[in-house]
Assembly symmetry: C2
Homo-oligomer: 424 residues x 2
């Protein structure tokens, strides 16, 4: 399939574009003349779904009686359900590939260039759950945080460990991350100050697409139907704050100052070709409610590039989402087995995705062995992040004839304006 010639005259479209016809991710954007609305990325352009709706192209889809694309978040479109997502995807492909009289007339108002658009949070996020599903990551962190115990705690291979993160502080690619202040141990005494161990965590975040009622578990065989799509997610962490606070109730201020996500939601439909079987059989065997009839993960390359001021970014990590131990279906079945209800727009994150090698780790904590082995970035030593440093995360899938990417998740660290801090 190739783009219609009318469109490529307006919208540059390279064959290896992240935003190929095989992708068609959804986002929320605005321009100088357009208020926030739903768009679909294609090449270097955006298809304006709110305008497309006005061309009466969706009249035959009952669930689209309202223009759910003329909204400030994707939530209403997502709520129309998976059958509608499929119908809309077909319609978009039709529009982009067949020269049609209607489209031709409206072609300029139907498309915008990404370079002139502002992206916004794609969904209203109600609840944010962060799993801990990479065995390499959990092992690395366990060794560093509990050097005298078994790195993997006894529950880790029996259930997908998770905790509730903070939804309010989720921001978009491009946002500045203010270096947090807080309390941590220094020479065994609690002190107050700027975190000295600011870190990133490389993750994917899944957007919930369907709700279950409170009290009603989602069976594992149906779990994948509850997901709309995925974004790249950076779960920013302050390791010194986290290490001092996290027992017994888990991470709090070490995490909740910022989490950032990439703006385009790549649909589960687009990700289907990248499903592969789990790399290794889970052992010990899991309890029945976690037995995934088709245990699969996504084969997506994940790269992290780090930049220091006045230098080009340097790739420091090459990981892959197929390294995960737990499947998405297992995570959802576990999350809801007690009746916990998921809402459309909730984010379920994978947890840091690390491989076993240093060059495939998803956090500086792991790569630098908690700051004891600095990296060299453009001739400078780095353990944790300094003000002005930037982190860019990329996610790509490659199959013969199929090529897609998520678009970059890029954020910079900025100095905290509240230092020295006087609270009264």
């Amino acid at each position: 399939m190739t783009l219609d010639a009318h469109i490529t005259r307006l919208i540059p479209y390279a064959d290896d574009s992240d935003f190929s016809l095989a992708n068609l991710p959804y986002g929320i954007y605005s321009t100088a003349s357009k208020t926030r609305r739903v768009g679909v990325a294609i090449g270097e352009g955006i298809l304006d779904m709110a305008q497309l709706y006005e061309l009466d192209l969706f009249n035959d889809i009952d669930t689209l009686a309202e223009n759910v694309f003329d909204k400030t978040t994707l939530n209403d479109f997502i709520k129309t359900g998976s059958a509608t997502w499929t119908l809309v995807r077909k319609k978009i492909i039709q529009v982009l590939t067949l020269p049609e009289q209607t489209i031709q007339k409206n072609i300029t108002r139907l498309f915008d260039l990404q370079s002139t658009a502002t992206m916004h949070l794609p969904v209203q996020i109600f609840n944010y759950t962060d799993f801990y599903s990479s065995e390499a990551h959990a092992t690395h962190v366990g060794k560093l945080f509990r050097p005298h115990g078994e790195p993997l705690l006894p529950n880790w291979k029996h259930l997908p460990v998770a905790y509730h993160g903070r939804a309010s502080s989720i921001t978009l690619s491009g946002s500045m991350v203010t270096r947090p202040q807080g309390q941590y141990l220094k020479e065994n005494a609690p002190v107050f100050g700027l975190t000295q161990e600011l870190d990133f965590e490389l993750e994917l975040g899944y957007i919930v697409g369907r709700e279950n009622q409170l009290g009603h578990p989602i069976a594992i065989a149906e779990a994948n139907e509850y997901v709309f799509g995925a974004v790249i997610l950076n779960d920013w962490s302050a390791r010194d704050i986290q290490r001092w606070e996290y027992q017994p109730l888990g991470p709090f201020l070490g995490k909740n100052f910022a989490t950032s996500i990439s703006p385009w939601v790549v649909t589960m439909e687009a990700l289907k070709p990248f499903r592969v079987d789990l790399l290794s059989t889970q052992s010990p065997a899991v309890l029945d409610y976690l037995k995934d009839p088709r245990p699969q993960v996504l084969d997506l390359d994940l790269h992290v590039a780090m930049s220091i001021p006045d230098h080009a970014p340097v790739t420091i990590t090459r990981s892959n989402s197929k390294y995960l131990y737990w499947t998405l279906a297992q995570q959802i079945a576990h999350h809801t087995i007690n009746g916990c209800n998921l809402l459309v727009g909730d984010i379920l994150a994978t947890g840091t995705i690390s491989g076993w090698e240093e060059a495939s780790c998803g956090s500086l904590l792991e790569m630098t062995h908690n700051g004891s082995r600095p990296l060299t970035i453009a001739d400078q030593k780095r353990t944790y992040l300094q003000d002005g440093d930037g982190i860019t995360m990329l996610c790509n899938g490659r199959r013969p004839g199929i090529n897609l990417g998520f678009g970059p998740l890029m954020n910079k660290i900025v100095a905290n304006p509240y230092t020295p801090y006087t609270s009264i």
Copy 2:
């Protein structure tokens, strides 16, 4: 102050009513003929704020240009700010105490009886944070969960420990709590089944009334201004599930199946007379950002009554919110010191409020020493909750001439309809 005679003819009002003129809590209610709206509890009645607004009584308040009472949650009213809350409170007292021609004409449409009203969640809750601020509770739990270590972890007296709870599963008084299923240890092996250790936790939940920007800490001297009011909160817990899952990331499925709150939000203004100094000085001294210029807690009696099928409820706990170690201002200063942003409608819960005595404990875990010492309720033994059992929580403040209550928070346990569970 007494109620206007016109009103008491319609609305029974006892001098010792929870909903006295000193209280005036806000809630969301509907009736057979009225859609959801803001109401204020008074005696056995509800003042219909949406209707009151239509009488042009609020014309002189600029921030009330829109009828923020004709809404399905309190969020829009809360967002008008604390100066407006005070003006509205004055206006309500005026309406209830002065016989006015306008009111007299409209008196029947202005009031409803609580007995004919349905209550709804008072706020849209975006984020739910649960602290762990009772020293007696943390000590009791520490002894039971970590019998071989120090009961209080080293960080506990240096910072108000907290974690993020689940917002989506917060329900109202009257809701049924389905016994959750999940994974827990039995004879040292993980098994799947219905929780055998279903428990309540007696807490207060504070409703955030004002937002801080991401990256901007709230100074402790200003922290109390960020709170609108309080509800009773029951943080339902499955102890067997919690014990197996909670390390290293904290409680998840052991808690997120249900949290319930009482329907009436008692304002911080109404609670002012109940502020008392901290019972004992915090030692060791806290870091500067946690130094509360006026460290106070609320002197409110908290009662828990338990019912078993076919028997009247029996009071099993008499606690008090003045037993808390950390102040609300300290909790807020800590929560935001890293720049974490609070949203209007967020809930900040105290954590279980226990005294040092068994009869003042806020959970069955503590009272029964993890099920080893059963309670006797109406001649039956109880360790943890059984299907059909009910828990009622009450909260009251008493001062000479001032009397207020929150109204009961009452829920019942129901059997899980998904047993035996087949997931595929």
